[in-house]
Structures are given as C-alpha cells and as structure tokens.
Symmetry: C2
C-alpha cells in the first residue's frame, strides 16, 4: 500500500457504508424492511408489484392514473426481439437458466432504442423494458428447453399473471397470481445486497443500464445470494427422496460442518420480515394444493436450526417450498428472484447516476515485497 | 440505518481498503505499479503478455518449460464455438463492440466444459480460455461488421500477433506485434479498479468466472474507466477535423466546465507509470508510420493540461494515439483494454475465491423517514 491515507475495513465490507440511498430502509435489529419508508408488511398486504415498481422508480406511491399509465407501459413492453428468442432457441438445453438470462439481457441492449443514452429518462424507459422482458426470457427459455411452444404475452393481465401464463401456457388461479405478486413485492429491493452493489459499481463508470443489470444477474446467481433458494430446495428434495427425518438430515450436515442454506443473514439479527410472509404463503399454498410435506419439512428444520444454532430463516428458506408448490422448477427459483429484483436494481442504477462518483476502493497489498527483481529466464 | 455499528466512508469508497490482495502493488505518490512485486517498467522492457499472464495467475515468473506449456495451452484454446460466431453474425452491425463482447463472453459459459465447476483449477482453465477467446471475439465481430471474412487463428503466433492477424487479415510487423504486446502488459492489472472490483463483487456470491468477467466488461465500458481512451481519441479527431489548435480546443472545453478525458487518476498523484511507456510508443509508432500528428497534438495537450491544471496524463491518454496509429478502430480501444485486463480480472476472481467472503456493504438511508404510511389509493 502506498503512503496514502486509507481506511481498513472488515472483510467483505461488512457494516461499511458504501453510499447514501433513499430507496430501502433496513433495521436489522428490529427486523424492519421498508421501500421509500413504507413497511414491507403494508406493501405485501396492500400493494401490487407494478405499484411497488412505481414506488421504487419514482419515490412515491402513484395516483390511480399514474399507476394505470405505468401498467400500460409495462404491458406494452411485453415483446422480445425475434433475435433474442432465436438466441434462446440456439442455447443448449441443459445449461443453467441464469447463464441464459444473463446472456439474453446483455443481448437486449442490441435492440434497445435508448442504448446510446444514459440519462435519467432513458434509464426509466430501460427499467420498464427490462422489468417487462426479463420474465418473458425466463418463461420462453423454460418452454423451449422442454420442447414446448413459446406462449404469447397477454397484455391485459397483471405482471405476475402474465409471467405464469407465459411459463405454464394457462392463466394462473387468483391464488397463484396473488402469491407470486406478493413474492415479487417481497424480493423487489434489499438495499446494497451483492447484486445491487455489483450493478452500482458497474453503472458508476458511466457504463449503461444493460451492463449494470447484466452484472447484477451474474452476482445474483451465486449460492451465497439468490442461488440460496435453489440450494434449500435441493436439500428438501434429498430428504424427501431418502425418506429421511429432516432434523436428523440437517444434524448430519452440521456434523460435516456444512452450512445450511436459507439461514442467517448478513444484515438481519432477528426474523427476516420477508420470511414471515413466505412462511405463511408456503403453508397456505401447501395446504390448498395438498402438498403439505414441503412446508412441514421446512417448519421442522426451521425449528431445529433456531433452537440449536440460534439462526433465523431468511427470505430464501420458505421461498423454496413456496415456488415449488406453485409449480416452478427448482432452477428457475433464482431467475424468479431476478424477475422481482430487477425493479430494485434499476432504481439503484438511476439513483447512482443522479449523483455519480466512480466506485473504486483500494486493496491492501500483501504480496511479494516491492521491488521484486525480474529474474532473466536463464537464471530461473 | 439501523443501530448496527457502521463505518461511514468517502464517496465512491475512495481510499477505502476493500480487501487484501497479493496481485498488484501501487504507490500512487511515487508512481509505482508492480505485478506480484515486479515493477511494470521491468515487465514492459523484458516480459511478454503470456509471461505476464503466468505471473498474475500463478504468482511467480515461469521457467522456460512452464512458459512453453502456458503458451501452448493458450494457443490451443484459440477456438470459438460456432454458435458464438453465429451470435456475432446476428448482432446488428452498428452497435457498440463492448455490448457485443459482454454478450458473447456471457454466452461462452454455455460451451465451457467447466461451467458447473468453480474450484481453483477449473477457474485457471477458464482464465486461459477467456484470455484466448476474448481477442478472437473482438477481431471476429470487427471483420463481420465490415463485411469481411473471419480469419482463422494461427496457433504458432504470439497472443498479440495472433490478435492482429485475426483483426487485419495479415500478420503484423515485428514492431506492431511488440508494441501491442507491451500495451497488453501495461494494461493487464491495476489492483481494485472498478471493473476488477465488479468482478470480485460478482464472484464473491460464489457465482462463477463467466458471470464475474461479464460484470467486469460491463464496468470497463464506462467512460470513467476503460471507455476513456475512446473519449480521448474522439477529441483528437474533432481537433483534427476542425483544423483547430489543440491547446485552444482544450481551453474551450475547460471554459465549458468539461472534463478532459485521459487526465488525472483516482490513485496516482504523480505520473502514471504506464503513461511513460505509452507516450514513447505513441511517438515512435507515429514517427515510423509517418503519422506524427496524433502524437504531436497529444503532447501539446499534455503540456498545457499539466501546466494549467496540474493534472498528469494517465494510461488512457497516450493509448488513444498509440492504438490509432496501429490501425485499430476507435470503438475497439476499450475492447483491446479488455483483451489485456481479462488476465488481471481472472487472477483477482481466483484470489477472491481462494479466501472468499460475500462483499455486501450497507447504505446510509436518507429517504422518507420510517414508518411512512401506505396511503390507500382513494386518499392519494
């Protein structure tokens, strides 16, 4: 390190304030999550995903007319360039949907009429397009890899209902639509989580919205972030397949020093307020669909891990059984997370660019002392 | 913000140590840059890009046999899946090459035999592949957009020479090959610059190498980072076209409060040691090719900005005239930066994963005070 004044920080920037933000309020001790100051419980009970998008992008709740306009804009952007659909067709069938989503979103930039503009209004337009088109990509690739026909969007449906229609080929029940809508509200933003931070780091070079969202998708893929709900369900499946006792299975994992996905959180030191809703949703959906076993298994694991390790279930733990009960494939859990989180990512990129500074920290050099000699080849 | 202990930091994390690293040593006051402790001047004078890759990835200079093996591996990976070439053909012709590169690199993950593995050795293999294939993508897209035939790689050539062959259709002169080789050495790594930091943030969720490098390419694109050398040349071109006096032109920009790209650096407070080499290269190449004007213009601007603003030319300032004199199109300057920097990005991803912790800072909430009421629609 040079003689510059530098601040040493905890590993992984834990507890380090990297920016100011007006988007998301978290109190990790009290278990509070709020978008633009409004508690997530109020939003989950009363709002819709489209209204939440408005709140995140424009900083206030919309009037009836403003909400109608945004819904219409989002519905109108339910279209994919044929070249993007063709990219989904040529992608091999066995690959990870998150790799496909990252690539297709990057390719969307080729066809975006605002690609060369990076101002506030252009980025709002890109936010609407990306939020409308990401679920279409997820649904289309899933149909294509299963040898099914891509389903046309229905612009009269809500964002949540249209995704389930394009995924399953039939319109969802009112219960399923509302369950997904709530899940999308709950996942929409979470302050400087790793994918949002990746998006802001990328945007802060004055690159562009598609670059930032592509970075975010790549970061979300990881099992320490969005990928955790997939890891949770793989454990539930393994327990189910083995006919094992869930608590004994988890005890075995702990004995092997394995981490139990879906527990603990960098920021929350009490119940993750999103878990409260997802637990209830998992139970209700399990019950109404006659598939209680995933919720029952999850509840027993939660009780044990809380008692034994004093770790709380996080957003990922009950989203696993919830999404499975809704008929969503396990490797689409993280893409569904992206379908929601793109609303927050785009809001953060716009906020970053409205008062930008390059995000460029330092590293503390611990390698071979300078100057190390360049030893000529014949002397090595 | 919650009651958690948090550290407030300067905007853009300036001067904040985000991680330890053994890869790159910078002394911004003394103008020192070193890879694994070896001064950049020694490497520029004596090394090759392939040897620099070895140094970055393995932490030491190679023996003759080790270097031969790495060169052979890199040459053997000079191949692109036909689906990636076809993606380059279907991309519209007028779009930004960095958007194409970001998308194509993301798509490389579809065909990587190690895609589902994230261990150290698999990531070394991915580093070799990405480093070999990124220049092929840049060259192939440039040929395709110009209606020319994609050139087959020559596995007997050096990394630098093969890129120039695949770009131009003819093998480069010894001078051009060595000039590019030195430019690739100079740009290979620079500690926690924004694109490298984006790569590490992405990788730290335990996502994967392709996600991390895709993030980095998106971040490099920005004019506050890799895009700066393109901005420099656009100014040189504008001056040339207008037949203007370079100093008067720059004075005019300053009078309009415009930033002069290619000057100043977050980390260096003295001459950027890379600029020393690129200045010389720009002069020599300009002279040998009979195109002195770009260097002459650059030198006059540098002298004025130094005297008037006390700002030093950075790596981007003389790379603009250097690359132009080498016959590289202006919108390929940043892709050429990526061709080099992928060696450092991949080294950083491997280092991050060898001792990983999720990179997840906090934001200081300055939005509407919590709790803000959810006002029902009819009362808005």
């Amino acid at each position: 390190m040079s003689s510059l004044t530098t601040m040493n920080t905890p590993k992984g920037l834990e507890g380090v304030v990297a920016t100011t933000s007006s988007i998301c309020y978290i109190d990790g001790d009290q278990g509070v999550l709020a978008y633009r100051g409004i508690d997530i419980h109020e939003l989950a009970d009363n709002s819709t995903f489209e209204e939440t998008c408005y709140l995140l992008w424009f900083g206030k709740l919309p009037t009836r007319e403003e909400l109608k306009q945004l819904r219409d804009r989002m519905a109108a952007e339910r279209k994919l360039d044929p070249a993007v659909v063709s990219l989904l067709h040529t992608a091999p069938k066995g690959i990870q949907p998150m790799d496909v989503l990252r690539t297709a979103v990057s390719a969307l930039s080729f066809y975006d009429p605002d690609e060369k503009s990076n101002d506030h209004d252009a980025n709002i337009r890109k936010s609407v397009r990306l939020t409308s088109q990401i679920p279409m990509i997820v649904a289309a690739y899933d149909r294509i890899r299963k040898g099914k026909k891509v389903v046309e969007p229905d612009r009269s449906l809500s964002h949540a209902a249209n995704f389930l229609l394009q995924l399953n080929g039939t319109p969802p029940s009112v219960t399923a639509e509302r369950a997904l809508d709530i899940a999308l509200i709950l996942h929409a933003d979470h302050e400087l989580n790793a994918s949002t931070f990746a998006a802001r780091v990328t945007a802060a070079t004055l690159s562009d919205m598609h670059s930032a969202i592509t970075s975010a998708i790549g970061a979300l893929k990881g099992p320490l972030h969005g990928g955790a709900n997939e890891a949770v369900f793989q454990i539930l499946q393994a327990i189910d397949k083995a006919g094992a006792d869930p608590v004994e299975y988890v005890k075995g994992m702990l004995a092997q020093k394995k981490k139990i996905p879906g527990f603990g959180h960098r920021v929350y030191h009490t119940e993750d307020p999103r878990a409260t809703h997802l637990r209830k949703m998992s139970r209700d959906l399990g019950h109404s669909s006659g598939q209680d076993k995933w919720y029952d298994m999850s509840a027993r694991i939660e009780q044990f891990v809380k008692a034994d390790k004093n770790l709380n279930a996080n957003v990922d733990f009950y989203s696993a059984s919830t999404y499975h009960t809704m008929g969503i494939d396990v490797d689409l859990f993280t893409p569904v997370f992206a379908i929601s989180r793109v609303s927050g990512w785009t809001a953060h990129v716009i906020e970053q660019l409205d008062d930008n500074r390059l995000i460029r920290p330092r590293a503390d050099y611990i390698g071979p002392p300078y100057p190390e000699r360049y030893v000529p080849m014949e002397q090595r």
